[in-house]
Amino acid sequence: MIERVAERASVEIRDVWKSFAVDGAEVRALEGISLTVAPGEFVSIIGPSGCGKSTLLRLVAGLEVPDRGELWVDSSPVTGPSLRCGIAFQDHRLFPWLTVAANIGLGLLKTPRSQAEKRNAIQRLVDLVGLTGFENAYPRQLSGGMAQRASIARSLAAEPQILLLDEPLGALDALTRARMQAELLRIWERERVTVAMVTHDVTEAVLLSDRIVVMGRRPGRVREVLTVDVPRPRPRNAFSLATLSAQLAELLEGDLDN
Amino acid sequence: MTQNVLRTRVDHRAFVVPVVLLVLWAIASSLRLVDPHLLVPPATVAATLVQMLGGADYWSAVGSSLARVCGGFVLGGAAGLVVGVVLGVSRIAERIGAPTLHGARSVALFAWIPLLTAWFGDGEVAKVALIALAAFFPVALNTERGCRQVSNALLEVGRVLEFDRWTTVRRIILPAASRSIVTGLQLGLTTAWIGTIGAEYLVDQGTGIGIALSSARIDNRMDIILIYMLTLALMGLALNLIVRRNVVDD
């Protein structure tokens, strides 16, 4: 079995500003965001819709360029999309004309490994996300949860330094979501990547993260950063988690009134 | 949607190629590179154009074609609507009629001409019959598909509200299928137009753009042919604007 060789990286966001032009008017998506994520940390970014959390993730991934400020991954600046960030989108974006295995293998195209090694790596990932037996299935044959898992496997294929998840479980039903949350934790603990996950689900953030970044909107900025001091493994119905969830929910609700 | 069509900014780059071709054409014909009957100089074409626009023949040809396409389209379209609704609403009618309809459609449109001229002679009837046939198929097929694809959810509402057959058709099926029906009518008009030119060309009697083209070819008048081709191009563009869809196949 191939062991992880990549170093998990830190993420530094320094005073980032980003605006978009919508219908001729300028929309300030992010204003003065500064944030640090330690290597190996699991950080959730939560906030009401329109607060710019997806934009922030895309900036870290290099898919957008900030108007002002800098983004650093593992002490080198972000200049564009690269394989050192694994990103899983909310719509799984698996290529419909490739099988699950082929899709995952896309992440390995750039690695100088032999065919056999790549096949093994793909199999390992397939097993990791629990899709054993579906290597040759096409995306249209998979359920939502399965497709999402394949998408996560693809993002892990290149052994990225950080894993960016943009509301990965948003499109799933409650039962599948609960199962996938446990899977995410398991994957994170196994792979020991740095994870930055955007979510709107309070319970999810509290269950999975080391720290939670609460964002506000109009303009998009960091309102608070909460530390989840609850030791792992965290039982779903722990009292401490419930209190924290309630706190978070209140914070978010307050913003909605504005 | 209308606003988009009207407010489209004209991209000036579009005119570069036509102008360049025009210039090359003028040069080539003045240098007598090609037989002047084949490559008529642009000046000659322009002169002929002015002449034609001033005369009666051109306008009567255009007018006749337009009249024919309207007549044929109305006939074929009406028939197509009726048949389409019947086949789309009644399962039995569909089982009986659809195979024949789809089969008849497979026959290339102009292949019907020899039969039509044998039955109806060389006159207007054969031409209009072909145009009606051209319009009939797209209208019938699209209408049938539209009616058949009305979602069961809506039909169930009708059943729950105890609609009788006719009310169901009038209140649920036709409105729900209206998009497909309109598409069918648009395609039918486009096909009818192509059928008109073809029928006129092949059944070479009377007046019309197709007939004028045929005469021009017999007289070896490339300039007249080019002018009518330009006319057709412009009319085609106008048709697209009316129909708001691009002609993809003949």
């Binding site: 991934a61 290099g62 898919l63 690269s82 989108f89 974006r93 290529f95 419909p96 004309w97 490739l98 099988t99 082929a102 293998g105 896309l106 390995l108 750039k110 065919q115 037996g133 579906f134 040759n136 299935a137 096409y138 995306p139 044959q141 | 991209d11 780059r13 579009a14 190629v17 039995i92 089982r95 009986i96 009629g97 195979p99 024949t100 789809h102 497979s106 026959v107 290339a108 449109l109 102009f110 292949a111 020899p114 039969l115 044998a118 192509i194 030119i197 092949l202 083209l213 070819r217 070896n220 490339m222 009518y228 081709m229 057709l232 191009a233 085609g236 691009n246 993809v248 196949d249 003949d250």
Partner: protein, 280 residues
């Protein structure tokens, strides 16, 4: 070193838990009641036709009896005339289609991938394509005479348009979100072409080809009716001149069946080539 995915792309075997692929339902074929109903109308027509012939509603020259038509069909088929004509016609279609579709694809790729080229050449090409193919007949007749060149030119023109339009659109068929995935995966230009652009383009190009084939067949029939010494269209026109309407009927049916068969085959190929599209 590009990874070859051939080893991963295996045929979809039935796997536990995997939803089965939608196959075109063949059952309408086999259900006897459906076949009976479907044949009802044609049979009624034939019966009415026979009665009309018997009652001599139209002159026998212009309404031959169904039996005569059948006999003529047999004669033409057995005598080899029909197959020979069909062969010539199909040969013309193949060559004309090849020329037209190749040009259409090339121009489509150029205008599809480069907005600049599209801005310059697109409107002119589309404008020219507004002219119905039949209106090109006199033009090409003067240019090419009435030889093979005429037919091939017309067939090529007819098959050009759908391929041009579809290929042009197909170049931009891959949605932006797939290109973003390609960005993140750091795919180079060739990998992007092979793994994103071409697979996404395939369904549209295939359907464009199917339309091109259909156009080619339609146009061929007309050209052969007007300016040919051989082929099914010529056979039909010639029979009509000789007032042999039974032969005309036969040719109409043959033209229809051939057209349908080619279309059905193309649809099958299309669904095989791009099984992931909803139309499969």
């Amino acid at each position: 070193m590009a990874t070859r995915f051939a080893s991963f792309v295996k045929p979809i075997a039935a796997q536990p838990g995997v939803c089965s692929v939608k196959r075109p339902s063949l059952r309408w074929w086999i259900d006897p009641r459906t076949i009976a109903l479907g044949l009802l109308l044609p049979v009624t027509i034939v019966v009415a036709w026979s009665i009309a012939v018997r009652l001599e509603i139209m002159r026998p020259q212009i309404l031959p009896s169904p039996l005569t038509v059948l006999a003529t069909a047999r004669d033409l088929f057995v005598g080899g005339e029909l197959l020979a004509a069909l062969g010539i016609s199909l040969g013309r279609v193949v060559v004309g289609l090849a020329i037209g579709s190749l040009l259409g694809i090339l121009v489509g790729i150029a205008t599809g991938r480069s907005r600049t080229i599209d801005a310059y050449f697109g409107p002119t090409i589309r404008g020219i394509c507004q002219i119905p193919t039949i209106a090109w007949l006199p033009f090409f007749m003067i240019v090419f005479g009435i030889g093979e060149g005429l037919k091939l030119a017309l067939i090529a023109k007819a098959s050009f348009l759908p391929l041009f339009v579809n290929t042009s659109a197909a170049m931009r068929a891959a949605p932006e979100r797939f290109h973003e995935v390609a960005d993140v995966l750091e795919l180079d230009r060739w990998q992007r072409l092979r793994l994103v652009v071409l697979p996404a383009a395939l369904p549209l190009v295939a359907s464009g080809f199917r339309m091109g084939l259909s156009n080619a067949w339609h146009v061929l029939v007309v050209v052969e009716m007007v300016a040919a010494a051989a082929g099914v269209g010529h056979l039909m026109a010639w029979s009509r001149t000789l007032f042999q309407l039974d032969a005309v009927f036969v040719t109409i049916v043959v033209i229809g069946i051939t057209g349908w068969a080619m279309d059905a085959t193309m649809r099958l190929i299309e669904s095989r080539l791009s099984p992931w599209t909803a139309n499969a």
